[in-house]
């Protein structure tokens, strides 16, 4: 792993870049400061190894630096590497780590003869860098601490901006739908059916925006309540309102599905990451169980058995509905594609397809019914406290998916490859 066979020139060079690095640390923007701090780290490591390699060959005790000092820089590089990855600057960290590893590996060609002759020269140089090294290490730690604090502040800023963005997005969606509706009114002749559809959608969008806000508030309440260890009776109230809130959503969806079932199935009312997981206009019940169950430990034997059975029956029901949907797709597709294509009129085919599409509303309702039943069964199987934890886990999961959507939408553009 760590090969302390630095060439003497490399070692001296490392100390010199160190000096340069220290000056540079005082100026420049955040990124370059942090990368310079990383450089200091790596040179720190190089010098430390240099000293170890020399101390191995010379009997003089004065060059033995603390073992901690040697491992710390590498450890810090490792931490910073991961930190930078999450900040979206993977290139900086990985290249530094690779650099350090490469430099260390390349030194294996050093001959012992070189080291013996060099060690005599080094004896005079070594006494100077020892204090310098310890001072540099301390400065390094300080720089690392500062950078961690800066990173924390940055992440906090990011979180606030994210929340703001989510709110703005929702406002925009609502405004857009209302704009559509207004357009429908102005166009006069189009009011009829499309007006109803648009007003149904507009109403849903507004209600859903409110629903998400209430959901967020409920999750915070649950979290506080669980940490505060309130009584089971009080917790039950929160659990009931939490479950009831989901049922409210299914009611809303049922109403808007009658107005425009394609709207519900498309999932356009959800954020992009949520849409990725969409199954017949909502989340998969089996997915719900996968998210919940790990958060519920410890479960009794009886509970484990019941959850297991629920998982199985849920999966079977899901499969049945999925296959039913596939059959519906096949049916509609063959209906639309049917009949001669050299005929101008396709009305009969489209009209028949329309009838078949009515079934889509039933499927959306069945899917929501399955979601509702799954929630209900879990509520029955679990204790109040477990149910509260489960609701918190579920709400938090969707909350994170929404955050993921926002972050994805605001990610920096891909750097162009050379």
């Amino acid at each position: 792993m760590l090969q302390p066979n630095l060439k003497e020139e490399e070692g001296i060079e490392a100390i010199e870049t160190w000096n340069v690095g220290e000056q540079q640390e005082l100026e420049g923007d955040e990124e370059s400061k942090l990368s310079i701090a990383l450089d200091i780290n790596s040179t720190c490591a190089k010098v430390a190894f240099f000293i170890i390699s020399k101390s191995m060959n010379s009997p003089t005790p004065q060059f033995v630096p603390s073992r901690l000092g040697i491992y710390e820089p590498i450890h810090q590089i490792g931490i910073w590497g991961e930190n930078f990855k999450s900040n979206g600057n993977p290139n900086t960290s990985t290249s530094v780590i690779v650099e350090v590893d490469n430099k260390l590996e390349n030194e294996s060609e050093t001959t012992s003869h070189e080291m013996l002759t060099a060690s005599n020269n080094y004896k005079q140089e070594a006494s100077k860098p020892i204090d310098k090294i310890q001072r540099r290490l301390a400065q390094n730690r300080e720089a690392a601490r500062k950078s961690r604090l800066r990173k924390k502040a940055y992440v906090q800023q990011l979180e606030n901006s994210r929340l703001k963005l989510i709110q703005l997005e929702q406002e925009l969606q609502r405004a857009r739908q209302q704009g559509l509706y207004m357009g429908g009114v102005l166009e006069g002749s189009h009011i009829g059916f499309s007006g109803t559809v648009n007003s149904g959608i507009a109403a849903f969008e507004m209600e859903y925006g409110r629903w998400v806000d209430v959901q967020h508030r409920q999750i915070c309440e649950l979290r506080t309540a669980l940490n505060a260890h309130i009584s089971d009776i009080e917790l039950r109230i929160l659990v009931e309102s939490g479950i009831g809130h989901y049922f409210e959503l299914f009611r809303m969806k049922s109403t808007v599905a009658k107005a425009d079932v394609f709207y519900v199935i498309s999932g356009v009312w959800k954020t992009s990451a949520e849409r990725f997981f969409s199954w017949i206009g909502g989340f998969r019940p089996s997915e719900l169980l996968k998210v919940l169950v790990p958060q519920l430990d410890p479960l009794t034997e009886q509970q484990i058995l019941e959850v297991c059975n629920l998982k199985q029956s849920c999966q079977q029901a899901e499969d049945a509905l999925s296959q039913g949907m596939e059959k519906l797709q096949e049916t509609v597709s063959s209906t639309v594609a049917g009949g001669p294509v050299d005929e101008v009129s396709y009305i009969p085919q489209v009209a028949t397809a329309m009838e078949k599409l009515e079934a889509l509303v039933s499927f959306v309702n069945q899917a929501d019914h399955l979601r509702q039943e799954t929630l209900q069964q879990m509520s029955r199987i679990l204790t109040t406290r477990q149910a509260a934890r489960g609701l918190l886990a579920l709400g938090e999961y969707f909350h994170r998916l929404r955050a993921l959507s926002t972050l994805w939408a605001t990610r920096p553009p891909e750097p162009s490859l050379p």
Binding site: L310, D319, A320, Q323, K327, A359, F363, Q366, T374
Partner: protein, 101 residues
């Protein structure tokens, strides 16, 4: 005794369906997954289909098909079957009438 009731009591698990109905297809798949074989009557292929539909509505089904009968008793439509299955009640109800692996 009307045809529906008669047919429903002839077998342990009876499903009234329509060959074009995709929700009925879904229920059939569910039974397949559980490992049971219902006796299926396709109303759109039965000469008395219309009357049977009306009879089913009279019995309390919101939609005539799919309609599931177990042991001669009406269980209900897709909603009821799904709820029953998730609560763990469907399989025990079927057991006396079907040998399941």
């Amino acid at each position: 005794m009307d045809k529906v009731t008669r047919l429903a009591s002839e077998n342990g698990l009876v499903l009234f369906s329509k060959s074009s109905c995709c929700l009925c297809y879904a229920v059939k798949i569910l039974f397949q997954e559980i490992g049971v074989t219902p006796t299926v009557y396709e109303l759109d292929q039965d000469p008395e289909g219309r009357e049977m539909e009306r009879a089913l509505m009279r019995l309390g089904c919101s939609a005539p098909v799919p309609a599931v009968f177990i042991g001669g008793k009406l269980v209900g439509s897709t909603n009821e079957v799904m709820s029953l299955h998730l609560s763990g009640g469907l399989i025990p109800l079927l057991r006396p009438y079907h040998s399941m692996c």
